[in-house]
């Protein structure tokens, strides 16, 4: 079971609200009012949280966006890219559909499985749970950036060595969560490793091999 209280994935912004009964998330709410034509005059991004972030980036603050697609700049994997997105598009959509970075997977599209984990200003987030606009002015790192100059990140190599992927669909999200763990805690214990991926769902059951892979990298770092 997903243990929300144990989930170490600090959300840089307030966690989007989700009302189980009506099934309305902020994102869907925005989508639905757009559908009903209430946003035809566009929306002014206010200083607080109108689009899911308590601290909208400077670049879109006080700008009118939507309902049509608009041009924004996203900094992804160290490169600034201009893309045309609708306000309702999630960061995951933007990465996959506009930037063709399909390593980021979407499996539940509601923040329950962490397959879509990317780092936002170095902190893991579920990219299906935030709008692309909210990532403007911030640093997004995806699985595609983990290997540097063709050289695998030690975790990637350890995942290969320990057969830590089966179907592989959860692997990018797992790796991003683990990479953040090692960055902030280079010598984790087994329970800290478990904690770091407690929000990442794997249905094939690769967990035991992932535990070994991460601990091996940590151990190697220690010996260095």
């Amino acid at each position: 079971m997903k243990k929300d209280n144990l989930n170490p994935q600090e959300q840089p912004s307030k966690k989007p609200e989700y009302n189980e009964e009506s099934g309305i998330s902020r994102r869907n709410f925005l989508k639905s009012i757009k559908g009903a034509g209430l946003m035809t005059a566009g929306t002014v991004i206010a200083g607080v949280g109108a689009l899911g972030s308590d601290a909208p980036s400077e670049s879109i603050k006080d700008r009118t966006v939507g309902p049509e697609a608009g041009v924004v700049e996203l900094k992804v994997n160290g490169v600034i890219k201009e893309i045309t997105v609708e306000p309702r598009e999630t960061l995951a959509d933007a990465l996959r559909d506009h930037l063709h970075l399909t390593g980021t997977k979407v499996a539940c599209n509601r923040g329950s499985c962490s397959s879509c984990t990317v780092l936002l200003d170095g902190v893991p987030v579920n990219s299906c749970m935030m709008l692309a606009l909210d990532a403007v002015g911030r640093e997004v790192s995806t699985i595609e950036s983990l290997a540097k100059n063709g050289e695998l990140h030690p975790l990637q190599q350890a995942f290969i060595d320990h057969d830590a992927s089966q179907c592989g669909f959860c692997t990018p999200g797992m790796l991003m969560s683990c990479a953040h763990l090692l960055q902030t805690n280079p010598h984790p214990t087994l329970s800290e490793v478990k904690n770091a991926i407690s929000g990442n769902l794997c249905r094939c059951g690769t967990h035991p091999h992932i535990f070994k892979a991460v601990l091996e990298v940590a151990d190697k770092q220690k010996r260095k």
Partner: protein
């Protein structure tokens, strides 16, 4: 099919009279236990037998998964990642009601929405769907697809679906197994309804002997009722396709367990010859049985692509995946076993029911019939129709449910007969393999620590339990592989077979490399494409056992052709050449040698191509059902909260000739984790009043995350059947079967009260302890 049958009959006839056959000495049995060499009659064109794995260089070794690099870098392209030029996104309208007749459908508003390219109604032919004149299909569960939209973006398609207006006539419905059987229950499928009867069946697992006599001979009879729940596959990649329908042929990218099934069924649905349909599955994000057939989304995407002349991507969303893409049926089993004081079983009787929603297959009798082969056996099973999504096969279908009942009852029987559960099984289980598995497992697990049930006096009580299972060695004779040797040095193995995460690509590279005396890195593996010879469907754990002999035999054939072409240069006979350690040399004069790569350059033409198809098992040997596992579980049960924690599982598995140890371990761990999850967490919750699933998402449908993963220890029993040129078998399903009953028995051992219903949630534990 007929040609195949004739070929098979011819093959058998030839074998019977010994035409085209040779005698081959092969390893047989379990190393370190009863390994011997035996002779088998083998088709002439097949390679000589491999020795046991300790004498091989690549097979049985921990070769790294060859597509792992693509998976860890995010470059692996799954169906959900396919983006073709001009591609549209599809979305289906799924029924919000569990049982309705559609009166009319108005798609005007959806069609007018800017960005929408096409709308298609299900069950309607192209000519009728715009006029709404035809007969609409009866909708029999909430979530059943009705219509589909293709649009420039997924967002537009989702919006368009909401604009489709459907007028329904609501019909009565029922979603509960027990309610659906009551007199006067609503007919689940109105058009097929027999008077107040939602039952299909009965089905019988082949009976044996006479249970009446059997029970009269028993000193002790136990009968109990067991309940298991509906379980969802929850593959991380949902069902989906990208269909590119063109006049000269269709290309389909599919997240599937069978490229050939998608091809054949799509071709049938569209009246096309199968060779006009190409199906590609390079990577797929999990199936577990649910992706054996293409499903409605493939057909819908086909219609939308045909209408628009553009490729259409149609992936189910998570909710649709829960509602319509399959599940493991539940079960209500009444099991009765009679035994003598010495532990001999005298009769086994099973009456069971299960609901597969609007599908028909929910049988559970195999374990009861075959695990202990009691001479007197009878079973009867009914499938109960309910207005819920259809079941699909799920990892060891039927066996997982059946084993939960049989192995708990055996545990109870052992206690009543005052026998250790292992001792009882030693007395009534005829399998030599499982006897060995029990022995090795008990030692590793520390079974001798087990105390009488409920001995612990503290709040968090510890318990130990065990259970066992069996699984047949299924095979798919329509399994072929092609091996190419290319003059420029390339070596390639090709097959239509898909790798669903089990490691098929790696296994193929290993088998071909071993045969050619090379390392796996030298082999290019191209699979998951129906342009290549048909491979097996990924079901029944039969892929490795079906495709590896074909691949090895194809490599052997190609190698022989290469030998013919280089023999003269080496000054040796082709028949005396061998390939090993990257070289080809004469076994009589090893100095006559050439590097394998150099030999390729000497080829007379650009390529050597050899294809082989899986032959029948040698001498038609039926192989044992000894693939199951013996499993031991250690649990702790908090008697104040009711929470069960599985601390450790020891699983002992017979695994044929293991090709890749790490991948086998991965499969076993995955199966055990799904078994733990089945035992403790997973459960589809249906609302009887609305007919809706209440937890059709990955948050409320309970699954194990990292915190719930027990320590898993694996013992592999290498074993040789002398049945094929590789003697390999698949291992995906057998290790899930015994997990839930082993845990249930351990829970009983901890608290001294037995729980007969899955999942074993805190409320059930507290109820059992009379605390709520």
């Amino acid at each position: 099919m007929d040609m195949q049958r004739i070929e098979r009959a011819l093959e058998k006839l030839k074998r019977a009279v010994g035409i085209g056959m040779k005698r081959v000495t092969m390893p047989h049995g379990i190393p370190g236990h009863n390994l011997t060499q035996i002779e088998r009659e083998v088709p002439q064109e097949e390679p000589p037998a491999w020795p046991t794995n300790d004498k091989l260089s690549v097979v049985g070794k921990n070769v790294k998964r060859i597509d792992a690099h693509a998976k860890v870098t995010g470059s692996a392209k799954y169906t959900a990642d396919i983006r073709l030029p001009g591609m549209l996104f599809g979305k289906m309208l799924c029924s919000h009601h569990p049982h309705v007749r559609i009166r009319s459908v108005d798609t005007t508003a959806a069609e007018r929405l800017p960005g929408v390219a096409a709308v298609h109604l299900f069950g309607m032919t192209d000519s009728k769907d715009d006029g709404g004149q035809g007969e609409y299909p009866e909708i029999t569960f909430a979530g059943q697809p009705i219509a589909g939209v293709a649009a420039q973006s997924l967002q537009i398609a989702e919006e368009a679906v909401k604009l489709i207006r459907v007028e329904y006539k609501k019909l009565p419905f029922v979603v509960d197994l027990e309610e659906a059987q009551k007199p006067g229950a609503p007919a689940v499928i109105a058009i097929e309804a027999k008077e107040g009867n939602n039952l299909l069946g009965p089905w019988y697992s082949k009976p044996r002997g006479n249970i009446k006599t059997g029970f009269s001979e028993a000193d002790l009879i136990i009968e109990r009722t067991y309940k298991t729940q509906v379980q969802h596959h929850c593959c991380l990649e949902t069902h989906g396709v990208v269909v590119d329908y063109r006049n000269d042929g269709v290309t389909i990218y599919a997240s599937t367990q069978s490229t050939k099934n998608v091809r054949d069924e799509f071709a049938k649905a569209f009246g096309l010859p199968a060779n006009r349909v190409r199906v590609i599955c390079e990577f797929m994000g999990g199936g577990f049985g649910s992706k054996i057939k293409p499903g409605p989304s493939a057909v819908m995407a086909g219609f939308l692509s045909r209408k628009t002349g553009r490729p259409v991507s149609l992936m189910l969303d998570r909710r649709e995946e829960f509602l319509s893409a399959g599940n493991r049926p539940n079960s209500l089993q009444h099991l009765k076993i009679g035994a003598r004081k010495d532990g001999t079983l005298t009769a086994v009787e099973l009456h069971s029911r299960g609901t597969a929603g609007v599908a028909s297959d929910s049988g559970v009798g195999h374990v009861a019939r075959s695990l202990y082969r009691c001479p007197n056996f009878y079973s009867e099973h009914y499938t109960v129709l309910t207005n819920a999504g259809p079941s699909t096969p799920f990892r060891a279908p039927g066996n997982v449910q059946g084993c939960f009942a049989v192995e708990q009852l055996m545990d109870e029987l052992a206690e009543k007969l005052e026998l250790d559960p292992l001792e009882l099984r030693d007395r009534c289980d005829k399998s030599e393999t499982r006897r060995l598995e029990r022995l090795r497992g008990a030692e590793m697990f520390g079974w001798s620590r087990r105390r009488a049930a409920g001995s612990d006096t503290v709040i968090v009580k510890k318990g130990l339990g065990m259970a066992q299972a069996l699984w047949p060695k299924f095979l798919d004779l329509d399994s072929s592989a092609e091996v190419l040797l290319l003059k420029d040095g390339g070596i390639e193995v090709r097959s239509g077979v898909q790798d669903i995460g089990t490691g098929t690509k790696t296994v193929l590279a290993q088998v071909v490399a071993e045969e050619l005396g090379l390392q796996p890195e030298a082999i290019t593996v191209r699979i998951g494409d129906t342009l290549f010879p048909d491979g097996p469907t990924s079901e029944g754990s039969k892929v490795t056992g079906s495709i590896t002999p074909a691949a090895r035999n194809a490599a052997y054939k190609a190698k022989r052709q290469l030998f013919e072409q280089v023999a003269e240069t080496l000054g040796a006979e082709a028949s005396e050449l061998v390939a090993a350690e990257g070289r080809i040399f004469s076994k009589n004069e090893p100095s006559k040698k050439i590097a394998f790569q150099e030999a390729l350059k000497m080829m007379k033409r650009a390529r050597i191509s050899a294809t082989a198809t899986r032959s029948e098992n040698y001498e038609g040997k039926p192989v044992s059902e000894d693939l199951g596992a013996v499993q031991f579980a250690e649990v702790s049960v908090d008697t104040e909260t009711g929470i069960v924690n599985v601390e450790r599982i020891v699983t002992v598995n017979s695994c044929g000739r293991p090709i890749n140890i790490a991948q086998i371990e991965s499969q076993i761990e995955g199966a055990v984790i799904q078994g733990v999850s089945y035992a403790l967490y997973e459960n589809r919750v249906m609302d009887a009043a609305t007919g809706h699933q209440m937890n059709a998402n990955l948050q409320q449908y309970q699954l194990p995350f990292s915190m719930e993963i027990p320590e898993i220890e694996i013992v592999l029993i290498e074993s040789y059947d002398a049945a094929t040129s590789t003697d390999a078998v698949g291992i995906g399903e057998p290790p899930i079967i015994a997990t839930a009953p082993a845990i249930a028995n351990a829970v009983y051992n901890a608290i001294g009260v037995r729980i007969y219903e899955l999942p074993i949630t805190p409320d059930k534990v507290l109820k059992a302890l009379n605390k709520i």
